[in-house]
């Protein structure tokens, strides 16, 4: 009995110290990671909606509660909307694949960027390559937006397709009328 208590205490001490160290590391790096991801979002927005000079995040219930949608940004030029950037995700092979889809005018996809993914290196992570993503450019949201999958990365490519389709249908259903 005494043995068990002693062992539990030692394990407790080790895990508590580990927890404290991790908490400390987290507080050191958290800010930098957040800042970087904000910067990344800002630069994606600028490349996806090139005409816009101002961005606003849309967070009404109607939009955010939709399946596969994470965040939606509207781009304005001189006060009128010129396009939307939709952050959506699909279920990939190694977790969620998050993409940012730019939609301009009355429903033309201006580009797709992969924001985060943990697909298999060398296979699934080919979805981040420009030669794959550029195929979305010019697709019309009222039509089929899916593109051909990459050989050896079918699940990962489908995740991107799912995410882009979710963004397209969001545009068709709600955003178009704004």
């Amino acid at each position: 009995m005494r043995d068990i208590i002693k062992m539990s205490l030692i394990l407790l001490i080790i895990t508590s110290v580990s927890g404290m160290i991790l908490g400390f590391t987290n507080s050191m790096t958290e800010g930098i990671i957040l800042e970087r991801s904000l910067e990344e979002i800002a630069s994606s927005l600028e490349t996806l909606i090139t005409d816009a000079d101002e961005f606003e995040m849309l967070d009404d219930e109607e939009i955010i509660s939709r399946e596969r949608i994470k965040e939606v940004y509207a781009g304005y030029e001189n006060g009128s909307i010129v396009g939307f950037a939709v952050k959506s995700f699909g279920q990939g092979y190694g977790g969620e694949v998050e993409v940012m889809v730019g939609i301009i005018g009355d429903g033309t996809i201006s580009g797709v960027r992969v924001m985060s993914q943990s697909e298999t290196p060398g296979l699934g992570d080919k979805i981040t390559e420009e030669s794959f993503l550029e195929n979305y450019q010019g697709k019309i949201t009222s039509e089929d937006v899916a593109i051909d999958t990459i050989g050896g990365a079918t699940v990962s490519s489908k995740a991107v397709n799912d995410a882009v389709e979710a963004a397209a249908s969001l545009f068709e259903d709600i955003l178009k009328n704004r």
Binding site: D3, K6, M7, I10, L11, I14, T15, S18, I21, L22, T25, N26, M28, T29, I32, I33, R36, G94, G95, Q117, S118, E119, T120, P121, G122, L123, D125, T128, G152
Partner: protein, 198 residues
Amino acid sequence: MKLTNIFSRGLVMDNPVFVQALGMCPILAVTNTAFNSLGMGMATTSVLLGSNIVISLLRKSIPAKIRIPCFIVVIATFVTMVGMILEAYFPDLNQSLGIFVPLIVVNCLILGRAESFASKNSLVGSVTDAIGMGLGFTGALVVLGMVRETFGFGSLFDMQLFGEAFEPMALMAMPPGAFLALGILMAAFNKIVYAKLK
């Protein structure tokens, strides 16, 4: 055992990759380019160094019955720290290593060194062991990555080696290429090392 022996054993005689064949998952998965290999090697080495130091210091206070959970907690802590640091300061490398950074926890090289060396030896010995094994692991990964990148992408550390006419061997960039290249390198390594011993 002399420190130089401990060091050279990890680097050559008991090389974690070519001789012990430990940690095969990252070895095969992320060595598609030399840069990824170097990143994975450095990350693993820093975790190994940290865990060897802590486990060597704690070796007298950890009861034998719960040593494995204790080792795993220590290793997981270092891996999580390395993961956070990579995410904050080296986002590109973190992106290309992806899921294999958190998976360093289950790299049997690290638990293996904790169990068979750090838990029985002094701090200085354990540090030497970690550096030797870590460099042996990193070196082997980088060699494998260089071979695979040369054939699979026609480049080395992202610099193009050949002209336009070069047709990359896609196989080498994919998992089967990792097995083939590793097998050939292992054979060559053993041939060279054992030839020296005789």
